[in-house]
């Protein structure tokens, strides 16, 4: 990496950008330099030809490759419409591989984002050359990372989006003696960038260097070059993946929130704070939502024609669905299901249909029976109609196989109209072909950018102080029903635990020590009384006992420290 500063900074301006596969292929083939393309205008045709030429492929397969190309092309075609999703993004960008990263990377990016001036935007590293000069180690890391990510992105893109399976398989065949000089060239279409990257690659991998010089002296045949490229990439890919996931050691800083001396916010204050904070880009978000709202009547039409509608995209779709409900469903029977609610079950959904919509009193042995009953009723009475709105169909409680099966069957009834929203990135994985055909979805992208207020309020967030008040009150309640001595015993234990709160590996108070302390405080007179008392605590789930490695019994209060402190304060007040 001993290069002049100017060069480095120029390489830093290298940007991650989308390189179409045609370009990549073309680049590879040009690099090989064996064939001069005559018709550059008809690039796609030439690429097809190139693919054909890659090896002496039987025609059948070539045909398939062409078909697949067409397929990708056909699916990739998307007129740029204002609301449309970014389907011009290839899968490689979405599902890229992880590069091993340094822990201080985030801070770096943050400072970089913070540094960018008002209007501008893109993290342009050339703007902070002096910083890089000061920390050569870092900047090197940074550069490498960029190159890596660039590579991975492109690799992935090739694998995911276009490379037909067969071709890939063929390419995976090893070719022992060739080393690819232009290994990194595929990732970038610009000439000067390529040079930079080669430099980097030299610095990166010593073991590659000898082979590389050999390759430089003997220009490799065109076909196997590409093959080698892919093969190399494939193996790298696999190695990198396992490298990233195998190491049990995690390189993150040891800082914790407690050291930050910042009080944990509870749900209420959080809510208040957010309420006061202005929502950014309110006007744009409103515009966006209005676009979606113009689709309401279309949704109604399609629901009536036997389709069901699923909404996806970033942002809470709750308000949108609410608006849909209030504007169009006022005159009809409808059921709103808050899927994000932590205790929702399919059974409760079915029950509310049978009991409130169908006015049926009685119980069912299983959800399947219930479903059968509903099906029968809806088939008998053709005037019955029900709109079902499900917020978060992919929530924890509803995403199970059986729940989805039942909901799918429900939605397949002709007079039940389902409109649902999904948020999780892997939500579509819950449905197999059979369920999909039952659901008969029409997908609508409704990116709203609305904050998920309701949806996340039930979540067990890490940062929000959870259940503290509840635990405290129950603790007080139980303790008040005990004798004075028992409370004293518990106090002792709590105090001891608080003293040791800075020790993360505190196993608890051993029974013998505890007995000793209790005796000293005249709380118990014998081993047995203490044991009886502890049993009572254990029954109320106030303490937990654990047997250590040496066979000694350790006692621990399973409540977090802040609650315990609060508890002791309250106790002091009482006494």
């Amino acid at each position: 990496m001993s290069r002049p500063e100017g060069m480095r900074s120029s390489s830093c301006s290298l940007q991650v950008k989308f390189v179409p596969d045609e370009d990549v292929l073309k680049h590879i083939s040009d690099d090989a330099g064996t064939r001069v393309r005559k018709d550059k205008a008809q690039l796609s045709v030439s690429v097809k030809r190139f693919v054909k030429k890659l090896e002496n492929i039987s025609d059948n397969e070539a045909q398939e490759i062409l078909e697949e190309k067409n397929y990708v092309a056909a699916l990739g075609i998307c007129a740029p419409d204002p609301v449309g999703n970014g389907s011009n993004i290839s899968g490689g960008e979405v599902y890229s591989f992880q590069t091993p990263k340094r822990s201080n990377k985030m801070a770096e990016l943050a400072s970089e984002l913070a540094q960018t001036p008002e209007q501008n935007v893109a993290p342009d590293h050339s703007k902070c050359p002096e910083k890089m000069a000061k920390t050569p180690q870092n900047s090197k890391m940074f550069l490498l990372m960029h190159v890596f990510s660039l590579l991975f992105q492109n690799k992935k893109k090739e694998f995911v989006s276009t490379t037909p399976y067969r071709l890939r398989k063929r390419l995976a065949a090893p070719d022992p003696y060739l080393e690819s000089e232009s290994e990194y060239s595929a990732s970038c279409s610009e000439e000067e960038d390529e040079d930079e990257q080669k430099e980097v690659s030299t610095a990166l991998s010593d073991q590659k260097t000898p082979a590389k010089t050999k390759a430089a002296s003997t220009p490799p045949p065109r076909n196997s070059l590409a093959k080698k490229n892919k093969e190399q990439k494939m193996s790298n890919l696999v190695e990198e993946y396992f490298e990233a996931h195998s190491s049990s050691k995690v390189l993150t800083s040891d800082r914790t929130l407690q050291k930050l001396r910042k009080r944990r916010l509870n749900q209420q204050t959080l809510h208040d704070l957010l309420k006061n904070a202005p929502l950014a880009y309110a006007a744009e978000i409103r515009d966006l939502n209005q676009q979606h709202e113009s689709l309401f009547s279309k949704w109604m039409l399609q629901l009536h024609l036997g389709f069901n509608i699923v909404l996806y995209g970033l942002g809470s779709k709750r308000d949108l669905l609410e608006k849909f409900r209030t504007s169009l469903l006022q005159d009809s029977v409808h059921l709103v299901v808050n899927g994000y609610f932590p205790s929702i079950t399919v059974k409760s959904i079915l029950t509310s249909i049978t009991e409130e919509v169908l006015d049926h009193i009685g119980t069912f042995r299983s959800p399947l029976d219930q479903l059968e009953f509903i099906t029968k009723r809806f088939k008998e009475d053709s005037s019955l109609e029900l709109y079902v709105l499900i917020h978060n169909l992919d929530s924890q409680m509803l995403r199970g196989e059986r729940s989805q099966q039942i909901l799918a069957q429900l939605s397949s009834l002709p007079s039940i109209y389902l409109i649902a929203s999904i948020d999780h990135i892997n939500a579509p994985l819950m449905w197999d072909q059979a369920k999909l055909s039952l659901y008969n979805w029409l997908w609508y992208e409704t990116t709203t950018f609305n904050p998920y207020v309701e949806e996340t309020s039930y979540e067990n967030s890490l940062l929000v102080q959870q259940s503290g008040s509840l635990a405290l009150s129950s603790l007080m309640h139980v303790l008040h029903s005990l004798t004075l001595n028992a409370r004293g015993i518990f106090r002792l234990l709590a105090q001891h635990q608080l003293e040791k709160k800075d020790n993360p590996s505190y196993p608890g108070l051993s029974f013998q020590d505890f007995y000793q302390q209790c005796r000293e405080a005249f709380l118990v007179n014998s081993d047995l009384t203490l044991r009886a008392q502890l049993t009572e605590f254990r029954d109320h789930k106030l303490i937990r006992t654990k047997r250590g490695a040496d066979g000694v019994e350790y006692l621990l209060i399973p409540v977090d420290d802040s609650t315990l402190t609060d508890f002791l304060e309250k106790e002091d007040e009482d006494v």
């Binding site: 075609i77 985030m106 801070a107 984002l113 990510s149 990233a244 950014a280 055909s437 998920y452 929000v464």
Partner: protein, 706 residues
């Protein structure tokens, strides 16, 4: 979490609710009602057509099955020797029905099958699905429930209450099933002869009990085995027949069942039609016909076919996509009111409003057409509504004629191309259709090469192809082809004559003979060169001349009739071309949308502050975008404190730098809160999850970044 809302007043309007939806959406024109009606009738037509096709395709299979079933237990009553012999081995007659991987289409087949069976063979048909039968008990329960219910249907509810005692209380076991069967068959026998007669005309004396396992692969092995073993014990009392629906291959039976069990089955294999053939028929009957005025554009068809070929092989989904196309077309195109049968066109064109006329004038294809006219006519077209209507009518009729011709010629061309080696234009007619719709087919390389190949066809092939073409053209309704037919027939007779002529003509002295003479190398070379010369300059034989003529003629037909649709005037009225919309609704990519929103919020929020180029992101982006971007920089675990600090650095910088120290504490809290919200949103989206590996850490659930 569930809330039911009922309308306070009972003012539900049930009638034409759908039509109302259609109406209130497209506020631009008054033709919506008509459009909706047209759309509905068209869809109903198509739907019934597809059902008809499905039925016809399955007919063969169902007939085979029915005959198998009637054979299997025909001698149950008579107890012939053969039957008793079989009973000794306790074999259950079984039909293995190989249906292919398109699971979603199976339902329809099974429904058809059970209907046919109930009509012809037996009232006792039970359809079982794996998901209902986790154990043998559930299976028996389900089975008996279905059988006893169908019993009610048959002998019309005279003893409803006794059956209504419900299957729950009857002990679900084989003996009870047998006793039920006995009682039912006895009852039909003992009933009044008059009533019995008409029933016996439909069913056998003792109809078999048919149990259909819809998805055999997903049943638990244990359940299947138990059921088969148990029922084989009772086969002499209960004429049971099993039907296995198989999606993969018949081998699965032997993989699921050990030999001891599978030897209890007497399996016969039935193969259903492959879904590809089904699709071809559907395309043939729905798209390559002039019966339906509505047409699919090239891209749309391509998307539908690709979803079929690469995703599900489901004909049902294809038809669903087709339905969506129809709805979208009639919904979004106000002029689609003219997308109707030829007979209605005149009336509808006449009743067009001024707005609609303007709509026509705005069509790109119509504008192109206008530009080609001379100036006087141009003005007329653009200003005079009635003139425009006349012209439109004419153009639409032209379009209709074009379709008729197109289909016939397409089929002719397909006759030629489908037999060429390597299929340069595709094996299936749908590929050819796509190619022709996409652009001028005669300008493509593939067409060129296929013509060259066609010029090398031998005579017998050529003659049979020509005959086929003549048939196709004769059967088409268009009158335009009279001349073409004549011409082709002429070619045929010429070929005939040629044959006779060639028989008369003797084989001339072959040049090879001269070669046989002994000669030296120099002379040989010379003769060979001469031969080559002479061959090049040699006059083509009569056959070759004729072949060229034929190919050229076909070529001329193609150039004349297979013009791509989007070069035709007013094609927008009947062709649906919004492939992107279709794809968005049927083959959506939710994760891509999320990715775009998080990485490039400017795509959605059109604010200059969010604008950015390259892969970066503005520091003024929504919180969740910043938090997402920061988390991409981390490995498997993320320290929340670091994350929070990084976030607040970014956000503080983005806000006015004049936020002075006085309010900084409060600001800090707000930022903290915003951070919490963004993180929990990411958790909801599935990017991270809490981790116990280290305090105050979260785990990343995705890999990759940048």
């Amino acid at each position: 979490g569930c809330f039911v809302f009922k309308p306070s007043t009972k003012k539900r309007r049930l009638s034409d609710k759908t039509a109302r939806d259609f109406r209130c959406t497209s506020n631009d024109s008054e033709d919506t009602e008509l459009r909706f009606v047209t759309c509905q009738s068209l869809w109903n037509q198509i739907k019934s057509e597809t059902e008809q096709i499905q039925e016809n395709l399955n007919k063969q299979l169902l007939d085979n099955l029915v005959s198998f079933l009637s054979r299997s237990h025909s001698d149950f009553q008579e107890k012939t020797t053969e039957w008793t012999c079989r009973m000794k081995f306790r074999e259950i007659p079984t039909a293995a029905l190989v249906l292919g991987v398109n699971v979603t289409d199976h339902d329809l087949t099974f429904r058809g099958l059970s209907d046919v069976l109930q009509d012809n063979i037996t009232p006792y048909v039970a359809l079982l699905e794996a998901k209902d039968c986790p154990g043998i008990k559930n299976l028996m329960q389900k089975l008996m429930g279905q059988l006893m219910n169908c019993d009610i249907d048959v002998d019309s509810l005279e003893d409803e209450d006794c059956v209504q005692v419900s299957q729950n209380r009857i002990r679900c076991s084989m003996p009870s099933l047998i006793s039920w069967y006995d009682s039912v068959t006895k009852k039909t026998e003992s009933e009044t002869p008059s009533k019995k007669r008409n029933s016996s005309s439909r069913y056998w004396q003792s109809p078999p009990v048919v149990v259909i396992f819809k998805d055999m692969e997903s049943f638990t092995t244990k359940v299947l085995q138990d059921f088969i073993v148990i029922s084989s014990q009772h086969i002499h009392e209960l004429p049971l027949v099993l039907i296995f629906g198989i999606a993969t291959s018949p081998m699965i039976i032997h993989r699921l069942l050990p030999h001891s069990v599978s030897s209890l089955l007497c399996i016969e294999l039935f193969q259903s039609l492959s879904c590809k053939e089904h699709l071809s028929t559907i395309i043939d009957k729905l798209l390559l016909t002039s019966r339906f005025p509505f047409k699919l554009g090239e891209k749309v068809l391509q998307v539908l076919i690709n979803i079929f070929l690469y995703h599900d092989f489901s004909v049902q989904n294809f038809i669903k996509g087709f339905q969506l196309c129809i709805v979208e077309h009639f919904y979004s195109q106000p002029l689609s009111v003219l997308c109707c049968h030829l007979v209605d066109i005149k009336k509808r064109v006449c009743s067009l409003s001024h707005d609609q006329c303007e709509n026509i004038r705005r069509l790109p294809s119509f504008r192109r057409y206008v530009e080609k006219q001379e100036s006087g006519k141009q003005i007329e077209l653009l200003t005079n509504d009635s003139f425009l209507k006349e012209e439109t009518e004419k153009l639409l009729e032209d379009l209709h004629v074009y379709h008729e011709n197109y289909v016939s010629i397409l089929r002719c061309l397909h006759v030629f191309t489908s037999s060429l080696p390597k299929y340069p234009l595709g094996k299936q007619i749908r590929e050819l259709h796509c190619a022709c719709l996409e652009n001028r087919v005669w300008e493509t390389e593939e067409y060129e090469s296929s013509l060259q190949l066609a010029r090398m066809l031998n005579k017998t092939d050529l003659v049979t192809m020509l005959q086929k073409c003549v048939e196709i053209l004769m059967s088409s309704s268009g009158k335009k082809f009279d001349r073409a037919v004549e011409k082709l027939k002429e070619f045929l007779t010429q070929f005939q004559n040629l044959e006779e002529a060639s028989q008369e003509r003797d084989v001339s002295v072959s040049p090879q003979k001269e070669l046989q003479k002994k000669t030296d190398l120099y002379h040989l070379q010379k003769t060979l060169l001469e031969l080559k010369e002479s061959r090049r300059s040699k006059k083509l034989t009569k056959f070759e001349m004729l072949r060229f003529e034929v190919v050229d003629y076909i070529d001329s037909l193609v150039r004349r009739y297979l013009v791509p649709a989007d070069e035709r005037t007013l094609h927008e009225i009947v062709y649906f071309n919004a492939a992107a919309v279709l794809r968005g609704h049927l083959n959506a990519a939710p994760r891509t949308a999320l990715h775009t929103a998080l990485n490039n919020p400017h795509w959605y929020l059109k604010n200059q502050a969010l604008r950015c180029d390259g892969g970066g992101i503005s520091n003024k982006a929504p919180d969740i975008c910043i938090v997402y971007k920061l988390h991409l920089e981390c490995g498997r675990l993320i320290n929340l404190v670091d994350w929070l600090e990084a976030f607040s650095t970014v956000v503080m910088a983005a806000e006015e730098p004049n936020a002075d120290a006085a309010s900084s504490d409060q600001v800090d809290d707000v930022i903290h809160a915003r951070f919490i919200r963004a993180v929990s949103e990411l958790e909801l989206l599935g990017f991270i999850k809490p981790s116990k590996q280290k305090t105050d850490h979260v785990a990343r659930l995705t890999w990759g970044g940048c």
